[in-house]
Subunit: 398 residues, 4 copies
Amino acid sequence: MAGFNHLFIPGPTNMPEQVRMAMNVSMQDMRAPDFPDFTKPLFEKVRRVFKNTTGRVFLYPSSGTGAWEAAIQNTLSPGDKVLMSRFGQFSHLWVDMAQRLGLDVEVFDCEWGEGVPVEKYAERLKADTSHEIKAVFATHNETATGVSSDIKGVRAALDAANHPALLMVDGVSSIGSIEFDQDAWGVDCAVSGSQKGFMLPAGLGILSVSKWALEAHKHAEFPRTFFSFDDMIATNDQGYFPYTPATQLLKGLDVSCDMIHKEGLENIWARHHRLASGVRAAVDAWGLKLCAKETKWHSDTVSAILVPEGFDARDVISTGYSKYNTSFGTGLSKVMGRVFRIGHLGWLNEGMVSTALSVAEMSMIDVGMNIKAGSGVGAAIEHFTSTQAKSGKAIAAE
Amino acid sequence: MAGFNHLFIPGPTNMPEQVRMAMNVSMQDMRAPDFPDFTKPLFEKVRRVFKNTTGRVFLYPSSGTGAWEAAIQNTLSPGDKVLMSRFGQFSHLWVDMAQRLGLDVEVFDCEWGEGVPVEKYAERLKADTSHEIKAVFATHNETATGVSSDIKGVRAALDAANHPALLMVDGVSSIGSIEFDQDAWGVDCAVSGSQKGFMLPAGLGILSVSKWALEAHKHAEFPRTFFSFDDMIATNDQGYFPYTPATQLLKGLDVSCDMIHKEGLENIWARHHRLASGVRAAVDAWGLKLCAKETKWHSDTVSAILVPEGFDARDVISTGYSKYNTSFGTGLSKVMGRVFRIGHLGWLNEGMVSTALSVAEMSMIDVGMNIKAGSGVGAAIEHFTSTQAKSGKAIAAE
Amino acid sequence: MAGFNHLFIPGPTNMPEQVRMAMNVSMQDMRAPDFPDFTKPLFEKVRRVFKNTTGRVFLYPSSGTGAWEAAIQNTLSPGDKVLMSRFGQFSHLWVDMAQRLGLDVEVFDCEWGEGVPVEKYAERLKADTSHEIKAVFATHNETATGVSSDIKGVRAALDAANHPALLMVDGVSSIGSIEFDQDAWGVDCAVSGSQKGFMLPAGLGILSVSKWALEAHKHAEFPRTFFSFDDMIATNDQGYFPYTPATQLLKGLDVSCDMIHKEGLENIWARHHRLASGVRAAVDAWGLKLCAKETKWHSDTVSAILVPEGFDARDVISTGYSKYNTSFGTGLSKVMGRVFRIGHLGWLNEGMVSTALSVAEMSMIDVGMNIKAGSGVGAAIEHFTSTQAKSGKAIAAE
Amino acid sequence: MAGFNHLFIPGPTNMPEQVRMAMNVSMQDMRAPDFPDFTKPLFEKVRRVFKNTTGRVFLYPSSGTGAWEAAIQNTLSPGDKVLMSRFGQFSHLWVDMAQRLGLDVEVFDCEWGEGVPVEKYAERLKADTSHEIKAVFATHNETATGVSSDIKGVRAALDAANHPALLMVDGVSSIGSIEFDQDAWGVDCAVSGSQKGFMLPAGLGILSVSKWALEAHKHAEFPRTFFSFDDMIATNDQGYFPYTPATQLLKGLDVSCDMIHKEGLENIWARHHRLASGVRAAVDAWGLKLCAKETKWHSDTVSAILVPEGFDARDVISTGYSKYNTSFGTGLSKVMGRVFRIGHLGWLNEGMVSTALSVAEMSMIDVGMNIKAGSGVGAAIEHFTSTQAKSGKAIAAE
């Protein structure tokens, strides 16, 4: 099919040219004497993306799911009581993992479209005077429903209860794109992957941990080797890895981190907010609703858009794919057929958002929805031209 | 600046992923015994793009300008009388070249926005009973003004006059994108370059010649070596080149020709017409005019859009570039500041056209033009959804 | 430093141009409707490399170490008794993993330079009439010492004892390079990674399992999610993955498997034997010894070469790296400083082996070893020219 | 065929990884406002490679042959008397071009294997008191025979005669590899191409001219447009080009020039001499002779090696290609069948030279020549280890 494929799933995201070029490499000697000259600064660059100044990062050849498992295996023990919440496919899967690994999971089930129930967490933590709860889990950005949650609030709840539980955060589709501050928010394990805000192909699980997580590790009794912190620490400290690292991806990661720091995390977050606001203006103009139930939960990285009764969102998606060479995210599990998702994170600008919205319009019109041609993309254009961008050369020049 | 660069100049065009991958090669031995296994079929594939079944093609490491010169040097002699017309920067430059090379050029000067004056050609040729005119030149698609001309009509004029002059056609921004039929139209030298319909980086001048051009070559007295047909023919016939060819580009050309033939020339032409019609619907909706003065001259590969009095088109272009990371074509020479151009040729689909139109709208709004947000892209979407596409998987599957 | 880097570590190996080109891709939608058209044949191609016709393969974004863990987690239970042997760094690490994961490991410790003690295995298995031993582990090719072991013999030992234990084989540096026949040898879990015989960057753990392993899986009680067979099977059967796969590597894997099958496994094995024999001829000519203690243990994928008393092999390696831009493998753990390793597996030919041997000679001479210039590479040339190659165009043409 | 292709033709040469990565780009807007930020420093970097501080460079999308023609067309007029010499295929072709373009060529025919007859030039120039001779041509490095000539001597001859003729030098296979000093040697037109010392794919003709050449240009009457200095100067001065440049190659050129200047021209020349000396040591050890008749003519970029009577050098080459996946240069024209050529220029190190020599040995032995295995490569190793390299990290670190 002619023309570029337009990729608007919430990850893998679009890869910058510079990153792609950096990965076009021949194979390399991961035990070379100068390999640490490359890896040691890389660890620092990655850590800065998390705003983690006191702990360390682990770069696993795996995925976000692998980093979820690494976080649990390395800081907790079988049977530990943990507090979790479930309001979308990815928060669901993390709960499922925790249960299968043998944790004693206390789950708050929320409606899909809501976020982390911070007040309930606060209440429960306050009640847990014996500190039975060893860790609190929170999905920062639920990719399935386009819901961002209040991690700072979860930290406040822990602090209010003076509770020592670890704070475990899934930031796979938030970190590097929307505000995240591991130090300030006291996040102990922050989980990410290469294929979202880091703008790389999938293949790396990226885990950033606090010094408290490293302390907890000493008493964590899960069996582990592949994901073991100890093996990583012993070799990473020398600039090496306990097994062959995915060097090609690390080469790309080095460049993407440089790009992130050059643009500036705050500028990136502002850009994501501006672009996401354009998408939401379009959704309003179409007369549609987001899956995210309240404004406070609107995600700046992905929008899950509810289709009207009588329509199947999968038809919108398959039309976009087969007729317009464009990939949108599908509705997962409970919301299958009810939503289609536009990923708007990573290496993105106004033109790309316009593409996404235009193809969404065409696809919705094609399946018979009552959408006025140009209404949504027009609303986004209206938004982009009536507000100040901080995403142009200005930033590049700073 | 974040996000992809959006390239909507009328060449270089967007390069398909497959072509890019094919050019990511180490260097190669252009005298290897199996090199002809690669080049000989390649010559045939390229020839088929021109619909040239009786002549041959020349692949020069150069550019369209080089192929212009090759055509003249190899088929004409200093002092030869030729008929040309001038109605835009590229037809102007070809005239300039012909004059500087020492041809006796008779030029029809037309308004920029008009095309080849077929009737005047017909009249002049009829009057030339002594066959003083050795060649008739026509710019198939004037890239500067977005004007397509009637090459078939020029051939008819020659035939009506029973005139033996060679027909020289600049098809740089037409061939491989809009209808072109070298055999049927009796084109003797058809000039193209790698960076337009062939969807490659710049660097190749592609010249397709008829058997009559090869015959004329025998008496052509321009001095030449680099562009000499003879040296090329002698070596090409063995599958080699008279000097080191741009093998990397040839590797890409091989793949792009395969893609062209897989999609099918007729399907490609239909796709370009469909996408160009969307652009023109947008221009209408914006209340703007094209530089091309009549419908018959509307180019399906590039639209030169006139900005209203009081505005400078260069501001639209620079806004698009600096704020939205998008390249439009500038107005050249006489129409500088009066037009901006959207290139819509090559590896293109509806989503990409929507990007171009959205960014054009944003840029025009930003510079203060009275454009309704969403009007143009909406009109294109309306066009795309209300007409039958023949650009989807259907074709791919055929 | 000028000129190509020469990579002669035993993995990552040299990557074919075609594989590199195939991985130069933009990012892709791993939930696209046509994604299974890519993945389903890929699973089959990979399976054929193992000669596994009855089981299935798992492609984890991880490493060989990850696939080791996947094999254990999915087919065994904590406390299970297993039989292992240890004679090099990698067999050592697998033992270490098994112990840390909580298996009851019975280890035969052999000298480094020996291989799997088949006779001892046979004896022990015969003695285990109550079938307490649940699995027998064997490192097919010990990468640290350049020792290949007799997996067929281990199967014979199991069969002779009529023992139902699973046969777990580390084939990371053997599969795709030297003879391996999962079906015929009754291997239940065959572990590999992307960066050796598969000629890809590191980043995939590849695990091929028999139907008996899948049966054993039903009763395996290790906690697991990331490496879980169940999650993989449920999604792989539809052509998808339980989490974002490393699509870029899968694209490369698709091409490398095609290349493997085009050359033919038997031809690849013959090529590796021929090239390895050249290396061993050089070692003889240098008057040096291999770490592998007996001819039957000579590995066709990697040679660990003992330096004479008074020399430190690390000096040879660092000279090769810093002066000749060449990477050799270092001696690991017990043999550190005593051996340097030449990896001769994957995408390799006579010219590349000559490079390795020439640089080895130069480096050894530079550090003061008494090596006659040209002696080793000359012996290899002698071998290559006096024996029949089956590695030229002949094969390509077949 | 398995393993890397080994490229030892005297161009295209081996491309550094960094250059290859730099060319893996999407297409670009060659009229963008920031394009001059890229091109203007590039012109300077290229100029520095020629050691040209007073003139300018031209970057044509073409080849070395194109740059030959550009030099003639832009500085001379039809009928001008010029002095040339012929002693190999490339000096022959330049003479042929000059004649076909209409110059009055006075040729010194030398034996193939000799170089520019400096004494004869001196004598002839001294005799030309009326300054009829407008230009003196010299092939710095005759790629066909592996002969380097004394350009400084030609300048001395001109100066001794106080002769104003232009000095035109073909440096295609010398510049960027062996000593060349345009300023000091008073070279008026220095011709090169992208695919030799510049370590890029073919596709650029690179011409560096002195201020005297620019002065001569004002009176040069050859018809020209594609290669016209005027059109180039007018646009280059603004950072643009008169027609679409081969931007992809320019991106690579930018990186290769950076690499050249980082290594340092003097270090590069020393490296080439060291590596070429290794090749010549091998030729001696084989008992063979070079085509270059005297030591002073030995080229440090390419060696043309004479095979003994009774053998056809083409058999050596075809064996290398078909059996060992290695490309050597063939004997051209008069020396076809009598020589095979090893290109040893560009991105090269000791390991790569060893590969070339090893494969040459294998191929010669295979065709039945009486060559002792290891003799040549051993002599080179002897040379490399007994002399000081200035090609390691030392330089990189400087």
